[in-house]
Point group: C2
Chain length 413, copies 2
């Protein structure tokens, strides 16, 4: 099977600076992969606050259960992530593994067990033996250092064809604070599905409820607005940590989500969430094109979002994009099947800036040649105006190629 890097990979990877209050170590535990790191430990200084957003599946993995439980405390001492095995649908054994891992991590990082956060990604249903890696955590904690963000991004990859990084520096009050983020999504080697994991950290002194508000709001238009294949992982996890170390440099401690001094931070975080989310889409299994779907003129924003997802998840739309075919009839089909208010005779559709249909008919000025040329781009924008209201939404996806089927149909053979 091909392990070529996605043609949509960034030309240059962001270089993440050290973040005060966070030390990082990675290791080759050999959980499933050979000759690569598959274990990540982050150790957080005392007082680090945390927020999280998780998969909405009804069958979450054991680590997701544990994170949700520990989020209640709002404090983080350690993060342990393994790739190669998702510890999902592993029953009682899965819970034993998370308990054992949390205990070992707490001992290694000298924090409470309730301050440990876990994420696992890889195959589902295979028992994950904590004994395979929990003994490594002590030495990793001793060895951990602040300058290993690049290693961190690599250790959490599964079928990703490239690691995903983002960093930003932004003013908080009179001080500068830094935000670092890593993510993993869907790629090409073995595991079972496109679990999305992302870990973002900052030295800003923000309280857990502030982090949670920022994260929940920002996710709506970033990680929750992307779709590779409409399938939902058992393990999707997005965590945001704030060490507060920038307080020493004069950054204000913020406990109120409505504090106006948060504005630049919120903007930077939202940009980063979108950046990382798009990196995941651009590394979607078999992806050759990024697709942005915008719906305007729907009855409501919620309705617009549903229609946009109906378009973005339509296999017929996605294969048409793969075939560089400006097949707007399939966009109309996907609008129609969304089940949301829509009136065929008011509908307009654009590929890029080219309006191909309006008022229920093909646009008389529509040039097939110009549209075909547009469809050859790496990034394709589709817009549908419903003509009924002011609801608007944008989501992102990738095309559906033969490589997707190959990756997901052939992996055991």
């Amino acid at each position: 099977m091909s392990v070529a890097v996605s043609p949509l990979a960034p030309k240059k990877y962001a270089k993440l600076p050290p973040l005060d209050g966070i030390r990082i170590a990675t290791a080759e535990a050999g959980i499933k992969y050979r000759n690569r790191t598959d274990l990540l430990l982050m150790v957080f200084d005392k007082g680090t606050e945390v927020a999280g957003v998780f998969t909405r599946t009804k069958c979450p993995s054991a680590p997701v259960d544990l994170c949700r439980q520990n989020l209640g405390g709002g404090k983080a001492g350690a993060l342990v992530v393994n790739s190669g095995n998702a510890n999902a649908f592993t029953g009682k054994k899965g819970r034993e593994t998370t308990s054992l891992t949390a205990r070992a991590a707490a001992a290694a990082a000298a924090c409470g067990e309730g301050e440990v956060f876990l994420a696992s990604t890889g195959v589902i249903g295979e028992p994950l033996d904590a004994g395979k890696f929990s003994h490594l955590l002590k030495d990793m904690a001793a060895d951990a250092s602040a300058d290993r963000w690049t290693d961190a991004g690599k250790a959490i990859m599964t079928t990703d064809t490239y690691p995903k990084y983002a960093t930003a520096t932004v003013r908080l009050g009179d001080a500068e604070v830094t935000i670092n983020g890593i993510a993993k999504g869907a790629g090409m080697v073995a595991p079972d599905m496109a679990t999305m994991l992302s870990f973002i950290a900052t030295d800003a002194p923000l309280a857990a409820p502030v982090l949670q508000q920022l994260l929940s709001a920002g996710t709506r238009t970033s990680f929750n607005a992307i779709t590779v294949d409409s399938d939902t992982s058992t393990s999707d996890t997005l965590l945001l940590f704030a060490t507060g170390a920038a307080e020493k440099r004069g950054a204000p401690r913020i406990a109120d989500p409505k504090d106006p001094r948060l504005t630049p931070f919120r903007r930077a975080l939202n940009r980063m969430l979108k950046n990382l989310a798009l990196q995941v889409v651009r590394d979607g299994e078999g992806a050759r094109k990024q697709v942005e779907v915008t719906v305007t003129g729907a009855k409501s924003a919620r309705s617009a979002r549903r229609i946009a997802l109906s378009i973005a998840n339509s296999p017929l739309v996605k294969t048409a994009v793969a075939g560089e075919d400006a097949n707007w009839g399939r966009v109309v089909m996907a609008v129609g099947k969304a089940g949301e208010p829509a009136d065929r005779d008011r509908l307009s559709v654009w590929f890029g800036d080219i309006r191909v249909a309006r008022d229920g008919e093909r646009d008389p000025d529509y040039s097939e040649a110009a549209t075909s040329a547009y469809m050859k781009k790496d990034e394709v924008r589709i817009r549908a105006d419903i003509g009924l209201g002011r609801g608007k939404a944008t989501v992102w996806t990738c095309d559906l190629t033969k490589a997707y089927v190959e990756i997901n149909g052939d992996y055991r053979s």
Copy 2:
């Protein structure tokens, strides 16, 4: 594009007998295809009753609008079907085409315009010029004969790799009546949106309300329980015609849907609906395997159906089946994402009769070798027991192969 016949095609096609009261003609109008028939005319004797079920899309084609309107009268004089152009999203021009066609068909078949039913299938958004074929209807009506069901099935094909036929003979009162059915499908097939196109006819003397009750009830567990790619056509149309000609041979005229004499007819019709629906699935674009998904133990039948469709529409489940991979982790994932009540720790999953997971874990007795052997079959059954209630549902789909992407990436080119 490959035009090889699906490996799941019937070994032998049903041979449909003439039906009293129906005459058939087909023609090569050259609407899109060359060197094949693309136009079907059925002429019904006076007094033929009709019922229909249609796509639930919000953007139906012009012929669907016309059929819905004419169904109110309950009488059919002519059916005109063309392949190669769906006359969907064609605005005012589309309505002009249906009007012109209905007028020409009414003149040709000597019936009222309100007794004409139309269906169009093929590309969306291209204007369909009635002038290209409506002039042929007069000669077709003159030439029409009762023994052309085989031709009828062929003329309505688009990307189908084989025509779809079914026939049954059944007692109604003291007489025998016949039911004939044809269908076309391939892509854009999703439940709750009726079918692709299917036309069923009988010589039984059944009133339109009886036909409608039989058809609506039978569709729920047949055409509305299949999905090829979760996409919904603008044009799905299923019509049931009853000429009543068997009355002369002593068949009772039935006007009450609860008439107990209907039982054998209902059973035969339901079998035929399921038979035709499965033929459509087995000719799903790129299909190599038929997949039956049964969900048991859900909170309700409705919940079971939603979970079953989540499994049947999951690209990861469908590619796993294509890869002959008993990847039950993806079934769990699809249960989880359905949004219906489910408890990971009560979930059990079977491939065929092999239980691969139970109570939230891999079944300890599960044999990978036996399951892999099972996955090589043409017909794969997946069952998930939710362990919460008594809700049950079965749906059918096909696998997702590279050929699907190939067919749909190249369709317009």
